[in-house]
Amino acid sequence: MDEDRKKDNAVDRVNRAYNAYQNARSLIRLGRGAVSAARGVGALAATSEIWAPIAIALGLILFFTIIIVVLTGGPGAASELETQQSPQTSDLSSLFVTTNNGSAISDVDFYNVLKDAFSNSNYSALVTSQGPFKVIFNPPLGDFVGCQATVDGRNTITFYGFSNCSLSHQKYLALHESGHIIGNKNGRTYQSFPHSDLRAQDAGCYSRLGFLRSYFHAETGAGTSSKDESFAEAVALFLMPKERPPLTDFQNQCPNTYNWVRNNIFK
């Protein structure tokens, strides 16, 4: 695991160096363009007395435009910013903070469970929008075989017996619970989840109680909110579209719900 982490850091460094190289090349190209333009303007100015002031004015505009482009970083500035904001594997504490009560799982292992999700910068920004979320790993509850999870308060995921489950099930549980964290910390995003409309549009995907049918308590509700649970479940299904029966083709079975998650969570 440590080796993977080192590799990721190395990849990050290589990416940053490559970006810097590309930026330098862009500036050089810009400078060459400015010199050529200035030569053109000079040649134009020399040909006619009437055109001279126009050519000089155009030259001035071009000059100021180049200055503005250089100062603002040009059209590449936004994407550069986005790159800088992407989470780095070397700084897991900016994503989540764990408390381990006897269940053997490291931070790096947990990061790897959610790695696909964290690789999306919008997901990472949403799930950490009010700081890193908390994760508590507890031993299994009673004689329950397997793993369970819940969200305590608004920002804490508590797992029971997390290491007892397969990697696939760990991923599902972690994604689903992180969906709750996203909803809890981003009221506008949660508010905009059109649950009633999606129930009507993707009718076959929702139980009679309004839960996405892959949710464990879809037929009973178990005292939970169908909007809360469907929001969280949709986040999990987006990255596990073929693994949660009966919704084993999430994109095609529930196209409207899929598109909402793509456009609002993993955009």
Partner: protein, 183 residues
Amino acid sequence: MKARFLIIVIVISSLLLLFSVMSLILEKAQEVPPAAIKETDFSKTVPGKSTTADVIRINGKPRTTEVKETKTYFYYETRHSDFKDTVVFERGVELYALENIFDSSEANLNNVLKSYGEHETYYGAGPFLWFVFLEKGVAVETDEKEILKILYFVPQEEEGFSGLFGEELGLTKETPTPEVLRP
């Protein structure tokens, strides 16, 4: 001749610069989304005083109504089908009004906290918190960044508020028990 030349240069430069700036301004103006449609404004009615007629005069007729014992509920459509703005009357007088806020420009959490001062914190039926300003007769549902709902009520003591809105909206000061476990 030299002065004339300079004037022409300055005039042309100024015109071109002006044109560029105007283009940028127009482009930015086109990016601004259209003004949000505001369905209701419950801040203009007064809980404890306004009547059904007052509410209808200011906000129009509700989409649906419901009567439960001594209370009458007016439901107004909002831009999201999952949310209804609600005004509740008791014996014809406004008891409280609940308005959904979908746009940060409609209500700002920092401004509310700054203006209204001390608040009580309640937990709601959903995942968000309620900041309650008992003396002001205002409460806001929030994710601690944005205001999601505003509740207007008759200013009152905490006991009365907890009783009424515990029953009506499921508000409580007790930390909610964790959700059911998911296997």
